[in-house]
Every structure is written in structure tokens, then in C-alpha cells.
Symmetry: D2
Subunit: 306 residues, 4 copies
């Protein structure tokens, strides 16, 4: 019976384990533990193999405590291309501008919060006046940016060059392009609207496609680490439909199930039918909150890389 090759090895926990030792124990188990251990193996291989490493960042990651992880991954050279949502950039910029997010609770009267001018992101509180801070700084930056014929990537690089202590700043410094196809769907979009009431700002929607496609075409090997679904996941994967390549490595950390049919929850196997992920690709999906799975994966891989 071919199927019965590798017995489950039950996890043994002790009081002095490193994260990678814990992950190695998980590698003998099934379900989430097994998938997480596999994701660590794949992420390690993706990095060692010198692939072009795409990173899709959705969900509420920068306001909830994950912004340093992203910045450090860029600094370390483990992200070559970042695709993200406007919200993740906005909440990162708010902190880069000196604002804070606060530990809160989801068990609270939201109308009361409204009266206190506190915005809630599940169990995170954000004082509304931080948006005023954000607004002032961003309008200044917009005024400073040369406004002709930019794509969104270029526009974000220009912001990054002016806000050092941010994800965009680190990316700009490292030459890592940041793509954000739905940028108008964020406070950046709202500020752009305010700004364009009186000034001119022209950012082309489709211009980034060529740069993104060129990256795909020029890559020797490709890998994708997808945090959540949404536009970042689809944008990264769809590029392979029109290129002769497919992703050689793919990991997704998600809370979405396939059954609802949306792209966010689609399996990486489904992506193979489209040619987005290679037939023989190494791929793993870790179901669950990425604020748990991402730090584990990063810590274990850093430990392995020494």
C-alpha cells in the first residue's frame, strides 16, 4: 500500500524549544501543524533558490503589529516585489508619521467609540486625529511629487523616498517595487481626491502592468508568499496567465475556505488549472490568522538561514 509510507510522528514539546525546533516537531504531524511545517520548508527553499520573491499583503497586517516583519523582510532581501492594499500602506504611514494604533477590544459599543472619535479595526483602536496627521503629511508629499505620467508604483516610490521609516521607505531604498492596484480604495485615494480638487495629480491605472510583466518575464524562478487574498493575491497570480511561466513556489496564509468560490479562498491547486502555479510547484496553504502563522514561518526560516 503505497499510500502508507510515512507514519505520523507525534509532537514532543520541551521547555527550551526554539521556533524552528517547534516547527520541526510539527513536520511529523498532520492538519495545520503539518501544513505550517511544509510552508516553512517551501519558504526556506524559495529563498535559498534565489527565486524572484513576490509578497502579497492583504488584511489588517500593518495596524495589528506586523509592520516591522514586513520591513525587515524587505531589508533582508527576502521580498523582491511587494503587492499590497492601500490600507496596509496607510496604517504603516500613520505610524511612520508618528501616530499609533492601540490595543482595544471588539466587545465595545461602536457608537460610543464614534463619539470619542476612535476608529475600530476589530480589537485595535485608532484615534481619528491620526488621519489629520496623515492628511497633512500626505498633501505636502503630493505637492512635492512631480505629477506627469506616473504609474501607481512610481507614485508609491515617490512617497517612499519622502518617508524613510515606512514600508514604502525601506522598499524605495532597497529598490523593491511596491504595487497597489486598488490604491484609490484607501485613505491615499481619499487624499488624492482632496488634493485634486485644487491641484493636478495624474496617476495611470494600467502603466504598472508593463513593469510587473517584465519582472515576471525576466525572472528565472518565481515564488509567491500570499498573506490573505484580495487584490494582492490575484494580481500576483494572474500575471502568469499571460507569461510562459508559472509560480515554482507558492504559499498562502488565509482564513478563507475554498467553498465560497471567491479567489481569496481558492486553493493553489485550482491555480494550477489556470497555469498560475506550475504543475510541479511546491505549494502549501496554511489556514488561520496570519498574525500567528507569518511570524512563526519567518522566525523558523531566519533560524534555518542562520
Amino acid at each position: 500500500m503505497n499510500e502508507l509510507k510515512q507514519p505520523i510522528r507525534h509532537m514532543k514539546i520541551n521547555s527550551t524549544m526554539t521556533v524552528n525546533q517547534l516547527v520541526n516537531e510539527m513536520s511529523g504531524a498532520a492538519l495545520g501543524a503539518g501544513r505550517l511545517a511544509e510552508a516553512v520548508d517551501i519558504y526556506e527553499a524559495m529563498i535559498r533558490d534565489k527565486t524572484t520573491k513576490f509578497f502579497g499583503l492583504s488584511g489588517a497586517m500593518t495596524p495589528t503589529g506586523m509592520r516591522l516583519i514586513i520591513k525587515d523582510l524587505i531589508e533582508a532581501g527576502y521580498i523582491d516585489v511587494l503587492v499590497t492594499t492601500g490600507a496596509n500602506l496607510v496604517h504603516d504611514l500613520i505610524e511612520a508619521f508618528g501616530g499609533f494604533h492601540y490595543k482595544g477590544t471588539s466587545q465595545i459599543d461602536d457608537v460610543n467609540l464614534r463619539h470619542q472619535e476612535i476608529n475600530r479595526i476589530f480589537d485595535v483602536f485608532l484615534p481619528e486625529h491620526h488621519f489629520t496627521l496623515f492628511e497633512n503629511r500626505l498633501l505636502d508629499i503630493m505637492a512635492d511629487i512631480d505629477k506627469k505620467g506616473m504609474g501607481i508604483r512610481e507614485f508609491l516610490t515617490e512617497i517612499g523616498l519622502r518617508v524613510e521609516n515606512s514600508i514604502l521607505g525601506v522598499a524605495a531604498k532597497k529598490g523593491v517595487p511596491v504595487f497597489c492596484p486598488a490604491i484609490s480604495d484607501s485613505a491615499i485615494g481619499l487624499q488624492a481626491w482632496l488634493y485634486t480638487q485644487t491641484q493636478k495629480l495624474s496617476v495611470d491605472t494600467f502603466k504598472d502592468m508593463r513593469e510587473f510583466m517584465d519582472i515576471c518575464y525576466n525572472a528565472q524562478k518565481t515564488g509567491a508568499m500570499l498573506i490573505g487574498g484580495g487584490v494582492p493575491k490575484n494580481f500576483i497570480l494572474q500575471s502568469m496567465i499571460v507569461t510562459p511561466k508559472s509560480f515554482d513556489y507558492a504559499i498562502q496564509l488565509t482564513t478563507d475556505s475554498p467553498e465560497a468560490g471567491g479567489l481569496s479562498g481558492a486553493t493553489l491547486s485550482e491555480a494550477k488549472s489556470w497555469g498560475k502555479v506550475a504543475e510541479e510547484a511546491r505549494e502549501a496553504t496554511v489556514y488561520g490568522d496570519a498574525t500567528i502563522s507569518l511570524p512563526i514561518i519567518v522566525a523558523a526560516v531566519l533560524e534555518r538561514l542562520g
Copy 2:
């Protein structure tokens, strides 16, 4: 004890019920049934109250059997503003161009499908050659469109004017604006890239913001029907942050839970802390597959409206 006013009324099912009669039985129940009945009440009120009706369309709705419902809602005047994803537009256009989606299964070898050039969307199969059809038609349309200084909404209207039997076509005819902030994140974006290899096409990312904000500012009352989360949900709700208004009616049909913290699963109560949804708004969230909940809501409301 104030809290104990309305006893649960147990559902009574018979063999000749209309959808609205079923919903009326659900109105005495709790959990999903109660929430669905409440959503029907709110959607009916939203329509009768002559609000400006926003419709957010995410997920795999047009390839899975829901495209006529959307078209008919627009035709009937029940959608004033549509915000959607590129994928929903693409799969609708594929059918408008004469292509089909097919009933399939998720229990299948995706590599095998790949060899047959069949793309899978959970339990839907799509022959890849339909994208060739799509490509040819869209490139022709792009060549026909005047290319200076458009926003995305305008670009989509231009497509709609050239593809009558589509959601975009019906919307264009009815004067219903369609917004798709992440349009480059779709096969339309991929085609735009192909097109701009040799031709010029300039679509501004931020231009739509003014039109969208003007709609919000000019609305007497506002209502939002949100199918899934993603960019459509956030784009519709965020507009209220910078306007003096908030949504008076809001319904979301979703499979996402709040606990993961992403905007897609955020409660409409959370949206009140931001001022996106009004303190005293009527709002309901129906958890579950929108291919079930949306048709029920629409059928029940149509029955009520006569």
C-alpha cells in the same frame, strides 16, 4: 425584563410557499434565518425610501449563475451605483461575447484540467479559449475608445456602450455608473497591458474619486448592499469618512468572520465607529454563500414590491 419582549416564533413550512412567505416565517426565528429576514426588510425599506443605492459586488458571482440578477436589478432601477471587481466584469463580458461557463466539480485533478486547457473556479469550468474570444473583442473595443484623460468609470461606460448584453451594457444604458478601482487586477488589466505594448491608452486612477464623492454628497439618503468584501465593500464605505453623511441602510452578505480582522469580515457595527454607517442605521449581515442569500432577498423584495 426589557430584553424579553419578542418570543421566538417557530417556522411553519407548507407545500405552497412563495419565497417571501418563507422569509416571513424566518422573521420569527434567530441566527441566519432571522438575519436574512431582517436583510429583506432593510432592502425593501432601502428601495421604497428612494435612497441612493450602492451595490458592492465581489466574489465569483457572474461566472456562477448570478449575472442576470445583477442585470435585472440595474434594469429595475434598484442599483444606482455599482462597485465591483474586474473579475466579475470579465466573466460577465465573456458570456456577453458568446462564451459560457460550465458546471464542474472541485473534486478533480487540476493538472489534468490544465492539460485540457480548462480553468477552474471552484466548481465551475471555463474553457481557456474563451479568453481568446475575450481578448479579441476587448482589443477591438479598446481601439475604438477615445483615449484621453478617462477615469476608470468612463472607460467602463465606453465598454458598456459597445457590449449591450452585459452588466456594463445595461448600466451604460441606464446611466448607472460602474466603479472598479482595481481594474488592472483582472483580464481587462492584462488586455490593457497587451494593448499598450503598441497603442496608447491612458486611464487615470484617481479621477473617479470626484464623481463618486459627488454622488455621496448629493445623495439624500444612502444605502449599501454589499456582496462579499474586498475592494467594493471598502470603496463604498470609505467614501463616508470624508463626507458629512453615513449610510442609512447597509446589508452585507458574506462568508468572512470578523475575528481575522480584515475589512472583508468587519461588522457593520465596526463601520459605525468610523462614521461609515450611521449610528441609527438599519443594518444586517447575513453570513453565508451569497449565491443562496442574494436570490432569496431579491425574490422576497420583488414579491413585496409587487
Copy 3:
């Protein structure tokens, strides 16, 4: 291309649809709508085919508005064997004894509810004094029941014979056996504990197994309608492991996904590997809240049966 046989037929909604007409429209669609329509077909066939019809009832169904549906299904002869949880029986008995559950809300201070002696089941409120009512009535019934060598099924029949207006009562009248393997895990168990402080009550844990197995052995054909997972689902399915049969029809209505690995979320395909469900069985899983899917299925099937 074999896989491309049945094009998606997009749903058409009108203002005078019966539930079954809606379901027939769903039958051309994919995702949840398609699965729901398939479940209706299977449930209809299961009933017409005169199978032995098992019904697994988990979750908070009787307190939330579904108790009449269960009673009416038993009355109509559409349930031959009921397997359920103690909680569903307790909350049904509370209403049969004259108590009520109330529409409430999940957005409330639970400590405050505690001070008001109101118990919460998500958005249902239950005054604690109803448990006193339950306690008094059940202790009387226990005192009235002959206590030697009963199995759980027999014990429940005895209760049913004394509480006409309950699920147990209707089942006893119709001769439908009700199994509740985890009966001690409920307020019935708690009352049995109180009762046995001073009286004798002996109910055998394993005695029901023979009766249950005999039903399985004697059945010509078998069908299972599984509402939620838990003990009812497993208990119904596991019987087939030690019989030469397997379920010919199986439907599950669930909010659990397979990925977590628990039996509650396990697919009916997985059950085939165990021989619980027949290789060639007709089976469907409808993901979502059963307070929505069950009434639809029942209404549509009743309509079809006339």
C-alpha cells in the same frame, strides 16, 4: 472536452416565485446555490425511494425557531430515526413545558445579562427561571418512569410519552426512535444527577447500540440528513462501518470546513473511504447556516411532493 457539458444557467428571479421555483433556478448555478438545489433533489429522491431516513440534529436548532420543522417532518413520516443532542431536546422541552426563547442580540454585555438571570445563545435570550420550570417537570417525569435496565432511547421515549407537545412526544407517538448518545451532556444529565442524589435511575450507555444496528441491518436503503456535525453526524455514519451497508443518500448542512480535520467538517467523500457512505451514493454538502438551508430544502421538497 467531456468536462464541458452543462453550461451555467443564470438565475432569473421574478416577483411571484415559490420556494421550489427559486430552487429550480438555483439548479443551473454553481457554488452554494447549485449545491442547495442538488440537496433538494437528493432529499426528494430519499423520500420517494422509501429509504430508512436518518436525521442528525446538532447545533442550536430548537431554541432558534426550527422546532416545528422537526416535529412536522416526524409527523409527515420523513424522519425514521432521529439522532440529536441533549441541548436540542432540552430547549424543545422548555417550550413544550410552556417556556419561551426570545429574540435577542449578540451585541450585549453578558455580565449584565447574568445579573438579569438571562442566558444567551448567540442572539437568543432565555430567562433562567425556565430551567426551574424544566427541572420541576423533568424530576416529576423521572419519578414516574420505571427505572430498570433502560437504554437512552427508551428513557427518551418514556419522556416523550409524558410530553405530548414536544419533539420527543411526536416521535413517541409515531414510533420514531430518538437516540441521544451524549444525553448526560445536557440539562437532562444535570437533572438526572440531581435526581440520583436521592433516587435510583439506571440508564445504560451501550444498550441502544443493538437497536440502532438492527435498524441499519434491516434497512433496504438508507439516507441521512445531517444538520451540523457533532455526535449525531458521527453516530449515524459510524454504524455503517460494522454493517455490510453504506448510506445511499447523504446530505449535510454545515458551517464547518474540512480543513480543521474534525469529523463535523469532514466531507461526505471522506466518509466513502470508511464505507460510511456508498461509493455510488448521491450526496451533497450545503455550507452555511442550517436555519436558512433547512427551511428552503423542506419547503421545496414539500412542494414537489405536493
Copy 4:
């Protein structure tokens, strides 16, 4: 603004972190990471505070690689009362009897597996002949057990005394009672049925209630670690309804959301309205696969306890 006291502290990952160091980084974050860190704090306090520690074990934990963790927790004195499902006991016994579970995949033809006599538990494979092994051993043990007037707990202790290398064996040795209210809903129940075809075996359903209640009454302080929902969760929590106490500490690791209304997904806050969990209790819910969260919590707490 009272609500804005503790800024989110962004996680910093390095290459030599122990599991507890990772958890300490998580403690500054929100969402799942924050909840996981809180669960570690609570579990540590629960153990240091010398509470009576209840452990609820549902889901597919023993076949998937977690059996040593449970055994070691019992050995270490960190579980005083275990409440579990029949399946977790069965799959642990299978390994104690010399059988194995195997790493498999969920992407497989279940009918084919059936033909190979391999049972699937999501991504775990189990050769069916291991059940023969289980059957033979259990029938011998049953024949060896004195059969008069036992409760389920006692019956399980008797098994434990005869299978040293099992969870039941370790529990019996340490004097930790194991409760399994739904024992007939498992292969143990199926074997009991086979056995009672020819022999006598009498196990009382309600007898355990007194022992369990006595534990609750005699406890100074109480804590509950709940892995998954189902009978174990409810059985542990319901005991407090009829005692003057409530849980002082409570942790649940679950993939179920509250919205569906079932007890498995119910919040620990909801449990406060019932008096199951104390008003001022320390409680946390970690959403996600327990094969990930449980090992992390255990490793971090062991590290803290030294």
C-alpha cells in the same frame, strides 16, 4: 481617552528565538497573535494558581500528531480532569496497541482509498486492518473488566489500567479521571455492541455526573482549556450551571465562529451569561487550528515554568 492606553508594539523577529520569546513578541500585537499571547498568560496563571484544571479534547487530535502532548500534560500534572471524545481515545489506543496513522493527503480519490481499505481523516490515512487489531485487544480487555454498575469514567480507567502506553493508561496511573459522555459514539461503542451480543457489559450513562460534580464542588479554583467544541466543551462548562462556582480561567482553541449559534463556536463571554465562566474570569479564545496553537501554548508555558 481611556481606550487609548497601550500602543500596538510591532513584532520583531530574529533568528534565535525560543517559542516563548516569539509569544512575548506577539503580546504587543492584536488579532490572533495578541489572543494567543493572552492565552499563554492565562494558561501559565491557571497552572501556577493551582486551580483544578479541566481539559476538553475534541477534534482529530490524537490521530494527527498531538497524542504525546496530551500524555505529557497529564504526566506533568497539568491536567486534573480530562473530558474527551470517543474518537480521540480510539485513535490513541490504536497507536498504543502498535498501530499507526500515516501522513496522507485530502486531494485523493476516496473510492480508490476504499478499495485499498484505507480510511481517511482529512490528510491522515489509517489502514482499516488497524481496527481489527483494536477490536481484538478491546474485546479481550472488556472480557477482563468486572462488569457491574460501572460509570463511563470507571470503565475508561479499567481500560487505562490495561493499556499503559496510552492517554487512558497515563491518566489511570496518575489518578486523572477521564470522562467521555458520548463514548458509544465511537469504535469503543461499536465494540461494546459486538461484545454485548454474547456477553454482559453494563455501563451507566448518568453515574459519572456525581463524581464530576463533586470535583467541581470541591475545587478551590477552576480552569478550563478547551480544544475544539463538541461534547467536551459543553460538558465541562455546563457543570457550573448547577454549582455555586464558575470557571476562573478559560481558554478555547477553535475554528468555529459564534455566528452559527452552536455551542462549539459560542464565545466565553456568552458563557458568562449562563454563569459557566465567572464575570471576572480571565478568558481568551484563539481562533484557528489547534494543532498549531496548542503546541505553541504548551511550549511557551513549559518554558516559563522552567
